[in-house]
C-alpha cells in the first residue's frame, strides 16, 4: 500500500507539512525518530519573529511575513482539532540595544530591510519610549527596535497538536523509524527503515540535520550544519512581559525563557556553565529584577543551519515528486509550511516565489 505523501522528519517543519497535506485530503505518513534525537523542535525558543528575518534575501522576508499572517489560522485549527492551545500571542516584538553602537547597527539593519523588502512598521524606540512600553528595564538598555507583527507561541504544544491533528485526518504517525535508504524513481519512492518499506508518490525530506545524508538519495543537496543554542528557563513567574523579544520570552505558563547562545560546537548538546553565565548576565542587564528568579531548567539544542542561514525549499529535478525543506525557524514558518507550502507540494510544483530558496544558490563559485 502506498501513500500520496511521506514526510521524513516529525519535527515542526515535517509535522506542519504533513498535517497541511492531510487536511487537503492526501494520505500521509510522517516518519519520525525515537525519544532521543537531535530534535530542534524540542529546543526552540518559540518566537514568531519577523523583524530581522531576511536581510539580503527579500523572498525570505516576504515568506516570513506570509507565515506570520497565516499563524492565527494555524493556531485556530490546532485548537479546533485537538483542543491544544498553542498559546499564540502577536503583540509585537522588541530587540533591546545595550549600547549606542548596537542602536546604530540595528537602525542600519532596519533601514536596509525597509529598502529591500518594504515597510512592516518596524521602528526604533529611544530610551524613554521603550521604558514607557516595558517596565523594569535596566539602565544599560538604551533603546530597542520594535516590530508590531512579531509574536510568540509554545513550540512544544504546537508539535504535540500537529501530531494529534495529523491523526485526526487519518494520517499515519510512525515514530521510532530511522531511514536507511530511499529507492527513487520519478513520482515513485520507496523508503526503507530496517526491514520495513514505505512507498509513496511524493516525498518530503524534513529531517533537520539528518537531511544532509538523506537528500542526495533523491538527487538533492542539503548542506546543513549544527549550531548549538542554550536556553535557560525560570520558575513560573507572574506575567510581566507580554511582548516577544529576541533574548527573553515569558510563556503563557509564566516561565521566562532566557536565550540564547550561538555556538559552533558540532553535534554536542551538552550545556556549559560559561554559556549559562553569559546568558544570565546579559538578561540581568536587560531586566535586573530577574536576578532573584530561579533557573529550573537549562537545555541545549542544535539549530539546523544552511550556509547562508536562510531556508532551503527544493524539488528534485532528477526525481520529480521528491522535495527537501530545511530552515532554523520552524516555529515562525509553521504557518506558511502548513498552509502555503504543503498545498504547493501536493500540487507537484513549487511556485515561482520558492525559486530563490533553491540549494543551487550555494553552487555559485566564490569570486
Amino acid at each position: 500500500m502506498g501513500y500520496d505523501l511521506i514526510v521524513i522528519g516529525g519535527g515542526l517543519v515535517g509535522g506542519a507539512i504533513a498535517w497541511g497535506a492531510a487536511t487537503k485530503g492526501a494520505s500521509v505518513a510522517l516518519l519520525d525518530q525515537g525519544d532521543i534525537a537531535y530534535r530542534a523542535a524540542r529546543g526552540n525558543f518559540g518566537l514568531v519573529w519577523v523583524q530581522s528575518k531576511g536581510a539580503g534575501m527579500p523572498a525570505y522576508a516576504h515568506w516570513t511575513r506570509t507565515s506570520s499572517e497565516l499563524w492565527p489560522d494555524l493556531a485556530g485549527a490546532m485548537a479546533g482539532a485537538t483542543g491544544v492551545d498553542v498559546a499564540l500571542r502577536q503583540p509585537g516584538g522588541l530587540a533591546f540595544c545595550l549600547s549606542d553602537e548596537e542602536m546604530a547597527s540595528r537602525t542600519a539593519l532596519l533601514h536596509r530591510m525597509h529598502n529591500e523588502s518594504g515597510d512592516i512598521g518596524t521602528r526604533m524606540l529611544g530610551r524613554d519610549e521603550v521604558r514607557s512600553m516595558v517596565p523594569g528595564l535596566g539602565d544599560r538598555v538604551v533603546g530597542a527596535s520594535f516590530c508590531p507583527i512579531d509574536g510568540h507561541a509554545n513550540p512544544l504544544y504546537l508539535l504535540r497538536a500537529l501530531h494529534a491533528a495529523l491523526l485526526q485526518h487519518d494520517g499515519a504517525y510512525l515514530p521510532g523509524r530511522t531511514v536507511d535508504a530511499i529507492d527513487a524513481a520519478p513520482h515513485s519512492f520507496t523508503v526503507r527503515c530496517g526491514a520495513e518499506r514505505f512507498t509513496c508518490e511524493k516525498l518530503v525530506i524534513a529531517a533537520g540535520l539528518g537531511s544532509r545524508d538523506l537528500a542526495p538519495m533523491v538527487g538533492l543537496s542539503m548542506p546543513v550544519t549544527p549550531l548549538r543554542g542554550q536556553i535557560l528557563v525560570t520558575e513560573r513567574l507572574r506575567p510581566f512581559l507580554d511582548y516577544a523579544t529576541h533574548v527573553i520570552r515569558q510563556t503563557a505558563e509564566g516561565s521566562v525563557m532566557l536565550g540564547d547562545s550561538q555556538e559552533d560546537v558540532g553535534f554536542d548538546t551538552a550545556t556549559s556553565a560559561m554559556v549559562m553565565q553569559d546568558i544570565a548576565a546579559r538578561n540581568v542587564a536587560v531586566f535586573p529584577a530577574l536576578k532573584d528568579a530561579s533557573i529550573v531548567r537549562v537545555w541545549a539544542a542544535l539549530r539546523v543551519m544552511s550556509p547562508d542561514g536562510f531556508p532551503i525549499y527544493e524539488q528534485s529535478a532528477q526525481y520529480p515528486g521528491a522535495f527537501a525543506t530545511t530552515c532554523h525557524s520552524g516555529v515562525t514558518l509553521a504557518g506558511a509550511h502548513a498552509l502555503a507550502l504543503a498545498p504547493a507540494i501536493l500540487a507537484g510544483e513549487l511556485p515561482e516565489r520558492f525559486a530563490p530558496f533553491s540549494s543551487r544558490r550555494f553552487d555559485v563559485p566564490s569570486a
Partner: protein, 96 residues
C-alpha cells in the same frame, strides 16, 4: 498536628508571613513550621492547590518558601536561623 518530645521551650525566633515563630537548634525551616502547626507552606503556581512538605529530604520541592527575600528555597534543607523572615509562596512569584 505535631509535638516535640523535648518540652523545653525553643530559643530561635523567626517569622512566617510576619508572625513570630519559635524554633530550636537543629530545626530546618520546614520542621520548625510543621512543629508550629502550619498545615501547608505554599500554593502551587499551576492550580493554586495548597502543599506541605512531603519528603523532607530535598527531593519533592513541595516545601519551597521565600527566605529573607530569596524565593524557592527548600525549607527542608535550610537550617532555621535567628531573625529569619520566611514567607509563603502563593502561586507564581512576581519579580517586578
Amino acid at each position: 498536628m505535631f509535638r516535640r518530645l523535648d518540652a523545653t521551650p525553643g530559643e530561635i525566633r523567626f517569622t512566617f508571613d510576619g508572625t513570630e515563630q519559635i524554633a530550636r537548634p537543629g530545626d530546618s525551616v520546614a520542621v520548625a513550621l510543621l512543629a508550629a502547626g502550619e498545615p501547608s507552606l505554599r500554593e502551587t503556581p499551576v492550580s493554586g492547590a495548597p502543599r506541605a512538605p512531603y519528603c523532607m529530604m530535598g527531593v519533592c520541592f513541595d516545601c519551597l518558601v521565600e527566605i529573607d527575600g530569596v524565593g524557592n528555597r527548600q525549607a527542608c534543607l535550610t537550617p532555621v536561623a535567628e531573625g529569619m523572615q520566611v514567607r509563603r509562596q502563593r502561586g507564581a512569584r512576581g519579580v517586578l
